[in-house]
């Protein structure tokens, strides 16, 4: 008879049938591992999905020069406190400091979580619906301070700037909006929205005199976070916030200087809430980044637990089957065949696990979509998860399988 050099490489001789039948003799043990893999896959795939969703959200740009910007609030309290004069003095002082590119008084800051919103509509009248938008009130230094670029129209001129009293309800007649907002108000028209009239407070007209490329509203969790309008106003209020953009690398120095100079310049007010935009971003996305950290931790530990479980059970079963392995070796199994036997056995169990896991993953995702209004999972997460869990199983079983392959064939002749 003739024997090929490595006959055992043919799939036909990979013992899938006998391994499967032997597994059926120990259904519970195999099922336990399969279920463990299934649940692990369910958690891991859904967790990764949530992580990707959250980190995508965190990747969105705010539109401002985050690395080099900060803001500070001033609240006047003395009886003779003059808000408008103080604001102008403060801005002049800040703008004159070395390292400052520009500064502006602003009512709210992107990423900060608090701000104003209004509704704009394209036709006047209470019967028409509006589009919600965040409002930033700025003067002619605003665009430069925020580092947003006009893609159409022009910046506000100093003569456009109006004084806004607290509790004032009427609005200036000029407005700059984001491109996203322009597309919401005038679908498919984009830059052509320039020069058109929109209505605020149902009937007050405003002319779009500029469109900027991108700027986020203060609320990162808001569905319409790209809807922003900028109005040419300076607020006459005891509480005033300044937004400052510095030259690269100078932010921290400028922050200290602004704080101390403003404190010196007027004792009838307090300064508070000085924050870098970077710090504000961290706060804005803290829940998201915390969730990501927790999910990553849980996933890692879970995969380790499952992996160690497989290692433990496989080592145990190798120990239990020492005699059998020795016999197989005596009957002509190469070390490779023994490794392959345990890898295949694990592969069969894992296969059951990942199939159940795929179903459970979808079920859990449906529950999450239902109860917590997450988006449904993208289909390709499922096969990726299956492959990943297969790999985890194979990696975990490799050590014990190697150990099994090193069992001496002579064990077969040793009496118990």
């Amino acid at each position: 008879m003739t024997d090929s050099k490595s006959p055992s490489f043919f799939a036909e001789n990979w013992e899938i049938g006998p391994i499967f039948r032997a597994l059926l003799r120990n259904k519970v043990g195999a099922m336990l591992i399969a279920l463990q893999i299934a649940f692990t896959m369910t958690i891991v795939v859904n967790a990764i999905y949530i992580i990707v969703e959250r980190s995508d959200k965190m990747q969105r740009p705010s539109g401002i020069d985050e690395a080099n910007s900060f803001y500070i609030s001033s609240v006047g309290f003395s009886h003779d406190f003059n808000s408008l004069v103080t604001t102008q003095e403060d801005l002049n002082l800040i703008r004159s400091l070395d390292g400052v590119i520009d500064a502006v008084q602003i009512n709210a800051v992107p990423l900060s979580g608090s701000g104003w919103s209004m509704s704009l509509q394209t036709q006047p009248g209470t019967e028409f619906d509006g589009t919600g938008t965040a409002v930033y009130m700025i003067d002619e230094h605003g665009l430069n301070s925020l580092d947003v670029a006009l893609v159409a129209g022009e910046n506000f001129s100093p003569t456009d700037i109006q004084t806004r009293q607290s509790s004032q309800t009427h609005w200036p007649d000029k407005v700059i909006i984001t491109l996203a907002m322009a597309n919401r108000l005038f679908p498919d028209e984009g830059l052509a929205a320039l020069g058109k009239t929109v209505y605020i407070n149902d009937i007050e007209p405003m002319i779009i005199t500029g469109i900027v490329d991108q700027l986020q509203a203060p609320w990162v969790g808001w569905d319409n976070v790209e809807n922003v309008m900028l109005t040419p106003e300076i607020r006459d209020a005891k509480s005033s916030r300044y937004f400052v953009r510095t030259k690269p690398g100078q932010r921290d120095r400028v922050m200290n200087e602004v704080e101390s100079q403003l404190a010196k310049s007027n004792s009838g007010r307090i300064l508070r809430d000085m924050r870098s935009v970077e710090g504000t971003r961290l706060r804005a996305y803290r829940d998201n980044s915390a969730m990501i950290s927790i999910l990553v931790t849980v996933m890692t530990i879970l995969v380790i637990v499952t992996g160690l479980g497989i290692v433990g059970l496989a080592s145990f079963s190798v120990n239990q089957r020492k005699k059998q392995i020795g016999t197989r070796r005596a009957l002509g199994a190469s070390q490779l065949s023994i490794v392959r036997y345990f890898m295949l056995e694990n592969f069969l169990i894992s296969s059951a696990g990942v199939v159940i896991g795929a179903a459970l993953t979808i079920v859990l995702n449906i529950v999450l979509v239902d109860a917590f209004s997450l988006d449904p999972i993208a289909w390709y997460y499922i096969p990726l998860g299956m492959v990943a869990l297969w790999l985890v199983g194979q990696l975990a079983v490799f050590g014990p399988a190697r150990k099994a392959a090193n069992i001496a064939p002579a064990l077969a002749t040793r009496s118990v």
Partner: protein, 438 residues
Amino acid sequence: MFNYYIKLAFNSFKRNPILTGLMITAIALGIGASMTTITVNYLMSADPIPEKSSQLFHVQVDSWDPNHGFNDEPNTPPNQLTWTDATNLMSAKKAFRQTAMAKSGAIIQPSSPDINPFEASIRLAFKDFFPMFNVPFKYGNGWDQQADDDRQLVVVLSKEINDKVFAGENSVGNSIVIFGQSFRVIGVLDAWQPLPKFYDVNNGAFDEPEDLFMPFYLKQELELPNWGNTNCWKTPEGEGFTAFLQSECINFQMWVELKTPQDKQAYMSFLNNYVNDQKELGRFPRPLNNQLLNVMQWMDDQDVVADDAQIMMWLSFMFLVVCLLNTIGLQLAKFSAKSGEIGLRRAVGATKRDLFMQYTVETGAVGFAGGLFGLVLALLGLIGIRQLYGEVLNDLASLDLTMIALALVLSLLASICAGLYPTWRACNIAPASQLKSQ
């Protein structure tokens, strides 16, 4: 006999240290993860005022836009009140106790030159606020009806502010300059932090209570600024502070204390009558849709427990399931290796019950060890969560005795359940079967 089983259990651990270690670690990780998330959820969903949470009701009337509900689906009334409705309902005095509220803020100018002026948050409320919410006082008391009616410049300080401005001394009777006005201190609170901060969840359900408490009408009298969420469906008619107060903008909350279901019913019909009367005046263009929710219903309605916390809890329960499956598998393996010993014990007269006890003690001991270890992990987990979420969750991440007991019971139960099947299998080994073929 129990001691004997404990001894056997320890022998077994010594013989299989790696398997036993894996089991204890698996249970500990599962319990640790579950306890961490259960604790956060438990504290988030805790009843902040258990002694009367079912008698305190949050008042909502639907004063919103005729074309759009405050929420589209479900069609719930606005979560706050207008100034007009808050003051009207207060004047009617139809409940056992009632308080409208608003959040504001102002600069405090301490008389001592050593302390710089600083900004403080203000809760504007009525006199019933303190008895309604069982607010603890360290010095003095809240104000009376007279102070509410006469818009007196009186203030109750939080413990922190009293510590800061008056060095923790009894400051009742002292004066303090707030918003440029001289106020008289009439009370100082003791440490008070309801979790969640149920009386105003719109503005941060887990925020600290305010620094200062003063009569509600001072909002109008001093034109105190609006803090917290302000929502308008209609632009105020006219400019200025008075126009805002008369507008349909909502910035005010109201709670009533109603002792019995009949009282609640009566108050509800009062609300409905009130809204109908207002409709006559041309307000309230929407269909009648008023709501009285008690504390826990209101917490539920406002989704006080964060989605993320719930997602984490359910994921960690699944995590625990994985750990238990792991434990069952390992236990099964461990017991299957002992079939010889079991056969021998059966042969020398151990009943199934004896064996069942022996192995249940063994699995229970694994569970207990896992539970203790898990508690340590839960503590670490909570420290981790506190670090990740910062001050927001500071008070929501601590273990109390209930949680510790729950952790131990949960881990014992979980491990004994995980051991049931392996134990059952082990006990059903026939006495003779294992003696022969060895």
